[in-house]
Point group: C2
C-alpha cells in the first residue's frame, strides 16, 4: 500500500495524498476528507525509510551497549529510548561485547543506518579503536558517551566521578574506625580502573596501605565470593571491603556469612552502583551511587540539544554519593 494506491482510488494525485498525510494546507476540505477515509480504511502507514531518503533524516538513534543485561546500563538505555520515542525517534540497540572489532563493526552499522546520533553506554567504549571508528563512520553526528569520554569535536561525555567517590568511601570507613581495608575489582574497564585508583589514593592520603587490591576475575557473585575468601585468608585482620560493583559485593556478603563473620560489626562492606542487588542483600548493602539515572537524564539532554543544533557542554562530571544502608556502621 503506497500513496499511489490511495491516490488512484481517491481519484487524485499522489501529491494530494502526501499533503493530506502531512497535514499541509492547500487541499480542498472534501478532497481531504475523501483521502482521509481511504487512509483509515487501509490503515495506511508511510514508509519511514522512503521518507528518510527524501528528508535526509532517518529519525534513528543508535544505542551501543557492551551488554544490555548489565543492570547498570539497562536503565540508561530504557530512559533514553523512552524519551526519544516521544520525539518520534527510533532506537536501534546493539550489544557490542567487549572486543575492539565488534565495537567498530557496530559503529559502522550505525553509519549504514544513517543514525542521527549515537549513545555509547559504558566506560569500555573509551578506547582508541572506538575513537577511530567514530572518526571514520560517525564524524558528522553527535555521539554521547555515558561514563566515558573521547576528545573529538562531535563527542560528548557524561562522567561519574567514581575516583573521588571511592576515595570518599575509604574516608567514610576510616572515620568509622575501619583501617584495614581491601578493594575487590571485577574487571579492567576504565571505570573500574578509576575506582581502584580512587581507593589507592584514599588509602595513601590517610597513610594506610593502598596495595590491598584483589581481583574477582569476573563480574559474578561467585567471583566476589572467591575473592572475599582470599581477602580473609591473606588478611584476617581486614575490617572493611569495598567492591567495585554491587553484584560482586553480594557474593562477598555471602562469603562473610558463610564464614560466620558479622556485617557490619566485624567487617564493613560497600558496593558500587546503588543497584537493586544491594536492596536484596541481607544486610542491605551500602553502595556508592554513581548516578546512573542522572547520567541518563543528562545524556538525553545533551542529545536533544545536539539534535536541535544548540551547543552543549562537551564534558560533564557528576559527583557520586554514598548511600548508607546496613552493611556499614
Amino acid at each position: 500500500m503506497t500513496i499511489y494506491d490511495i491516490a488512484r482510488e481517491a481519484g487524485v494525485s499522489a501529491s494530494s495524498v502526501s499533503r493530506v498525510i502531512n497535514n499541509k494546507a492547500g487541499v480542498k476540505p472534501e478532497t481531504r476528507k475523501k483521502v482521509q477515509r481511504l487512509l483509515k480504511k487501509y490503515h495506511y502507514t508511510p514508509d519511514a525509510a522512503a521518507r528518510g531518503l527524501v528528508s535526509q533524516s532517518s529519525k534513528i538513534i543508535g544505542i551501543l551497549i557492551a551488554d544490555i543485561r548489565n543492570i547498570h546500563h539497562t536503565d540508561g538505555a530504557y530512559y533514553i529510548e523512552r524519551r526519544l520515542a516521544a520525539l518520534n525517534y527510533c532506537c536501534i540497540i546493539l550489544n557490542t561485547g567487549d572486543d575492539d572489532d565488534s565495537r567498530a563493526q557496530a559503529i559502522s552499522i550505525l553509519e549504514q543506518r544513517r543514525v542521527e546520533a549515537a549513545v555509547l553506554i559504558g566506560s569500555s567504549f573509551q578506547a582508541e579503536s572506538v575513537s577511530q571508528a567514530i572518526q571514520r563512520h560517525l564524524k558528522d553526528v553527535p555521539v554521547v558517551m555515558i561514563n566515558a569520554f573521547i576528545d573529538l569535536p562531535n563527542v560528548y561525555g557524561i562522567l561519574s566521578d567514581e575516583f573521588h567517590g571511592v576515595e570518599s568511601c575509604v574516608k567514610f570507613l576510616t572515620e568509622k574506625g575501619r583501617t584495614h581495608l581491601a578493594f575487590v575489582r571485577d574487571c579492567y574497564t576504565p571505570s573500574c580502573q578509576q575506582k581502584v585508583e580512587g581507593f589507592q589514593s584514599g588509602m595513601a592520603s590517610l597513610g594506610l596501605n593502598p596495595q590491598r587490591v584483589y581481583d574477582a576475575g569476573e563480574t559474578t557473585i561467585s567471583g566476589g565470593y572467591q575473592a572475599t575468601l582470599q581477602v580473609l585468608k591473606e588478611h584476617p585482620e581486614t575490617d572493611g571491603i569495598i567492591f567495585s560493583v554491587d553484584l560482586i559485593a553480594a557474593g562477598g556478603l555471602r562469603a562473610l556469612y558463610d564464614q560466620g563473620i558479622s556485617v557490619p560489626e566485624q567487617i564493613s562492606v560497600i558496593g558500587v552502583d546503588n543497584s537493586i542487588y544491594g536492596e536484596i542483600c541481607i544486610p542491605k548493602l551500602t553502595s556508592l551511587d554513581n548516578k546512573t539515572f542522572d547520567s541518563s537524564i543528562a545524556a538525553y539532554r545533551v542529545l536533544v540539544d545536539c539534535l536541535e543544533n544548540k551547543t552543549a557542554a562537551r564534558q560533564m562530571i557528576l559527583p557520586s554519593a554514598i548511600v548508607v544502608r546496613e552493611s556499614t556502621p
Copy 2:
C-alpha cells in the same frame, strides 16, 4: 558520500560501483581495484534505507518489551539481538509500557519501519488490543511472542508452562510436609494469572485451601515485604509461601528475617524466574525456572525459520522446572 561520488572520482558509472560493493561478477579486475581503493579511502558505507527501498527488505526486526529493565525480559532481548545481528539484521527495541494505546502505537511504528518480523516479549502482549494492532499493521510479517500467544495466522507463541510449574511447586512443598501455603502475586498479567491458577489448582487437588492468594500490588521488594507481613498477620500458621517472581520473594525473605522467622525451617519460600536475584538472597532462593533462556532460543529459531520461509510450529510450550536452593528443605 554516495556511489555517484565514488563513480565520478573513479571515472566509471554508478552501476559499476554498485557491482563492486555487492561483489558481483562482471567487473574488470583493475576497475574493481580502483573502485575498492576509493571505497576504502572514503570509508564509504551504503545507505541501508535506500538499499531497503529497492530491495524491499529493511533488514530490521522490531522487538517490543513492556519494560526492558525487567530482568526477565532483558535476557531474551539480548539473545535475540545478538543472534540477529550476526545475520545482518538490526533490532529496534521499543519499551511499550503496559497500556493498550502505547502498545498499539508501538506496533504501528514497527510498520512504519517496515520491519521484517517482530518479537513481542512478555505475557502482557496477550491482549485483544494487540491482536487488533497486529492485524492492522503487521499482517504480513511473522510475529513471535515470548510467553504469550494470539491465534492469528502469522503469530507464533513460545510459552512457559507456568501453570503446571507452580502446581508442581505446591506439590513439592506439601511433600516436604508444608500444607499451610500462601501465594503472593505481583500483578495481573496473563502470565501471573496462570501462576495463581496453578497454585489454586495444586492446592485444591490436594484438598488444601486454595484461597490464600495475596497481592503485592507492585513488582518491588517492598511490595513483597508488605504482602508477607500481611500473610503472617492473617495466618501465623503459614509454613510455605510461593511468590510470583523472585524480586518480591526477596522482599518476602527480608520480611521473614525481620520477623525472626527462619527459612526454610519455619517457612519455606519459592520464587519464580530463577533469576540472579535468587542467588543473592540469604538463604538462596528456590525458584521455578520458567526457561527464559530456552524461550529465547526457541523464539530465535522460529523467527529464522519464518524469515527463511520454512514452516514453524505456531505454538510451543516449554515445561518449567524447580531449581532447589536453600529456601526450601
